[in-house]
Assembly symmetry: C2
Homo-oligomer: 106 residues x 2
DNA sequence: TTCCATATTGGCAATATCGCCATATTTGAA
DNA sequence: TTCAAATATGGCGATATTGCCAATATGGAA
């Protein structure tokens, strides 16, 4: 493991870790379509407001979402334009995995 | 959270979780370039052979890598062709995050 | 068979994540 | 200022992840 790239893998892992939760993936989907405040997200996700707030801060820490304040409300949104590629790759993996389990390479 | 898509987010989260580790990301990089056996990977990664074996089984469980046996050796390789998109998106996020921290949207 | 190299699996302690409750904090309205 | 709504943060038990050291397959060679 090279000295210089170890940090890079850790940085990448942070991003992957931020996405490694069903609720956070749902949030990313929602916030890609439109800006939303915490309470609305909380209802959509079906988790406690404090839980959602923490999830959002995790996403924000790695730069996947941004936020702005308007009065007492915090509006969050996705700041990166390449998530679709992410998700479609995931779908590809899921599909090919289903096929692969029936075929040669296990 | 819609009934039907919850499982889908969990399936995606599994994949993200599988990638959410520096060593596993390094392994994916290595195994994308060439097929490798456990011991060689272990040396490259700098972790115990049993640790690497477990990492590999995590990657294999979600269908990111496949393996074949040749004698006593197990050769692993990446089975999905869309990882580059994954990684380049991660780099994009990392870069834009650095810029974003100096600018408006926090 | 016995021996050796490779790989996988158990077990376990250390650490991290998760989600709720309770408690700040912030902002606008009264 | 006092109150209420929206968010953020502390804290804590429950659960999951991590990585090493055994211990256990597994296969080839002697």
């Amino acid at each position: 493991m090279k000295e210089k790239t170890r940090e890079q893998y850790e940085a990448r892992a942070k991003i992957a870790k931020a996405m490694a939760h069903p609720s956070r993936l749902l949030m990313l989907d929602l916030l890609q379509k439109q800006e939303m405040c915490v309470n609305d997200i909380s209802e959509k996700v079906g988790a406690d407001q404090s839980t959602v707030s923490k999830h959002l801060s995790i996403l924000k820490d790695v730069g996947l979402v941004g936020s702005r304040k308007e009065g007492t409300l915090s509006y969050y949104r996705v700041t990166c334009g390449c998530l679709d590629g992410f998700f479609s790759c995931m779908e590809t993996v899921l599909l090919s995995d289903l096929e692969g389990r029936r075929l040669s390479v296990k």
